[in-house]
Amino acid sequence: MFKELIERFRQGHRTAPFPPGPEKFSDRYLGLPRLTGAPLAKAAAACPVGALSAADSALDMGRCLFCGACAKADPAAVEFTRDHRLSSGSREGLVLGSGGTFRASGEAPPDLRRLFGRSFRLRQVSAGGCNACEADCNVLGTLAFDLGRFGVQFVASPRHADGLLVTGPVTKNMELALRKTYDATPGPKLVIACGACAVSGGPYAGHAETLGGAAAVVPVDMFIPGCPPHPYTILDGILRLINGDIV
């Protein structure tokens, strides 16, 4: 027992404050994108998933893989900031116009926030996810993020849950399981689509084996973009849903 105590003393207290400071993100981290207003044709041609539309001068963060190919192709047209707050309560809210400012949103209605604001249990469903989104949800349970301090917890059964967090493009082979898990969750309930796949199909958009995201099967209350989203982006999205604009 003494060895454990000595090691605990040596490693110290490691739970990080929330909201996170900029030192939590690599200087090469690609967060919230910004369109400068310059023509997008060149940048759009570099996008592997068609997230940029030159005709509409718009960037759909829900499809974006945050690979940075657009900014590399035309740095004058697209920039990536290091802002990790990317969530939106609506799918259209993730579409950025040029010059406009994006503000993360997506809080649940006041009665649900009152209900879930201090105690929110989520059942995670991986439906074709590559295990990167799943891993970054798992990491929220570690002592560094300490999800529990916000009253949020991932639970084993949908019967114990107040909502679902869905990852992956929803494969046809997971459609039934996702629907059953949703049905097994007692209402009122909330659904979070986490990651480019769950929001829009991600790199698998258009594949006949997938349904193009969680909204094809269940009603989604919160969309969190990224491939995968940074754990702080996911945490920000979850807390925004149940607590409103906290930061």
Binding site: E7, S26, Y29, G128, N173, P203, E209
Partner: protein
């Protein structure tokens, strides 16, 4: 990464193909990949055979086949899933396969998890079904246990829930999304699969990746191994309710991921590798910062992990749980730490050295239980740290990337990378224009799932989480 030019791609008549395949497998060859690929007038079988100790990679091709072919699974169990996959994807029937059922349940066939399962009959035998949605934050799969009380006679694993058509889409490449498909074949193995994909493309185009890029790829691959092995040791200790190591390692895993992000901005190494080299440099200040963090985090990892080996209640629970014998591991063609822990001494970094690896010395093989699989990870953590230290001490100068042109026509490339779970194998075939005719991905999990099933035999249901973590296999890497 080996290129096979048109002259080396001579097709064998079916009988010769199977004779030669059997001979190679009897001779200690291991099927790194075995699949059907489109060919004039039908489908031909391709086998990429790794002769690990000799460091020789052999590619066998059959002439186009039209219907059935003799199953070699009864003699060589390592082919069991490959033959099922061939049947599912091409319709070529392996005659005499003992358990020919779907692998990924593609649309148009039976629903996933349905159909026949191996059953044990008897008055007190009962069946336990788990999944596809599991208790933790984990990917979906279906597990059927045949039990007598708590004792497990047999476990059958049915996957396919994560099937999203990624291999099919890769076969239509190379294209704009191909690199992203490779990076998401198994998200926790982003670097491993990205390297295998780049390696195949570079071999096909004759691109010589600059030494600095090779070393940076090595750093990223070893960081991926460090993150996952550390996470696994934490998860294993969590499963035996030893919380100090579980808590420490949960954080430390994240610190290794953050080191990857220090290099490329993404914790999983997305966007770091591109055909021809790497997209990010490690300037002197960044290299120094990486080394400083590595030393800090390794010291904490050492402190956290050594608690495991010093705690009798942990070692007692790990020892003799989920044993897989050396003979079984070899017969099933297991790879990676799971194989090495069972005494099968293979490691791509030593047997088929690539990139910056030379004279890699894998840890001593273990005796096949959960303890051996856990200790193997610790041994590998030490080696990964040593490798990164060595590379950072003498980073080669020079460019980060070399032009990677169009792939050669009518050729094939087989690319092998030792990811943290074991050998990743990508095989690409090009047609007359240099576009892919076929692209085959074999994640280490494809070989190893049956190893997990075997580990449970004679064990208890309550051993399952522990055995499962000790393999920690990929669902999406299997389901493709």
């Amino acid at each position: 990464m080996k290129l096979f030019g048109p002259a080396e791609l001579a097709a064998l008549p079916a009988d010769k193909f199977f004779t030669q395949l059997s001979a190679s497998l009897s001779d200690g060859g291991r099927a790194a990949a075995y699949f059907a690929s489109p060919a004039d007038g039908g489908r031909r079988l391709c086998a990429a055979l790794a002769h690990d100790r000799a460091g020789r990679l052999e590619l066998l091709l059959s002439e186009p086949l039209s219907d059935g072919f003799p199953s070699l699974t009864p003699r060589f169990p390592q082919l069991h899933l490959f033959e099922r996959e061939i049947f599912e994807l091409s319709g070529l029937r392996p005659e005499g396969h003992p358990w020919l059922k779907p692998v990924r349940y593609p649309a148009g066939g039976p629903d996933p998890g349905t159909g026949d399962f191996f059953r044990v009959h008897g008055p007190e035998v009962h069946e336990v079904a788990v999944g596809p949605v599991h208790a933790g934050v984990i990917e979906p799969g279906h597990f059927r246990f045949q039990c007598h009380g708590e004792n497990v006679f047999h476990l059958e694993i049915a996957l396919g829930y994560q099937h999203r058509g990624v291999e099919r889409a890769l076969s239509a490449g190379p294209g704009a999304r191909s690199m992203h498909y490779a990076e998401t074949l198994a998200g926790d193995t982003t670097i491993g699969h990205a390297w295998a994909y780049c390696g195949a493309l570079e071999a096909l185009s004759g691109c010589a990746v600059p030494p600095r890029a090779q070393v940076l790829r090595g750093v990223l691959l070893e960081l991926e191994r460090l993150a996952n092995h550390t996470g696994d040791l934490g998860a294993l200790s969590g499963d035996v309710a030893y919380l100090p190591t579980a808590s420490f390692c949960g954080r430390l895993r994240g610190e290794y991921l953050n080191m990857t992000a220090l290099i490329c901005g993404n914790r999983f190494g997305r966007n770091a590798l591109r055909p021809g080299g790497v997209d990010f440099d490690l300037e002197p200040a960044r290299a120094a910062e990486l080394l400083r963090r590595l030393e800090d985090v390794f010291r904490d990892t050492e402190g956290a992990v050594s608690l495991l080996w010093d705690t009798a209640s942990v070692t007692e629970r790990f020892e003799n749980t989920g044993p897989v014998s050396r003979a079984d591991a070899a017969a099933l063609g297991l790879v990676g730490p799971a194989a090495r822990a069972s005494g099968v001494d293979i490691d791509t970094r030593r047997d088929f050295p690539y990139g910056p690896y030379s004279r890699y010395d894998p840890p001593k093989p273990g005796r096949g239980d959960v303890y051996a699989r856990a200790y193997m990870r610790w041994d590998e953590i030490i080696r990964s740290v040593r490798l990164i230290r060595g590379w950072l001490a003498s980073l080669p100068a020079g460019p980060l990337t070399a032009p990677c042109g169009a792939p050669a026509s009518d050729s094939a490339a087989v690319s092998l990378v030792e990811s943290w779970r074991g050998q990743v194998c990508h095989a690409a075939f090009t047609g007359p224009g240099g576009g892919f005719l076929g692209y085959k991905v074999v994640d280490p999990s494809f070989h190893n799932w049956q190893g997990l099933a075997l580990a449970l035999r004679g064990g208890q249901i309550s051993d399952f989480p522990l055995c499962n973590k000790s393999f920690n296999l990929s669902y999406c890497g299997h389901d493709l």
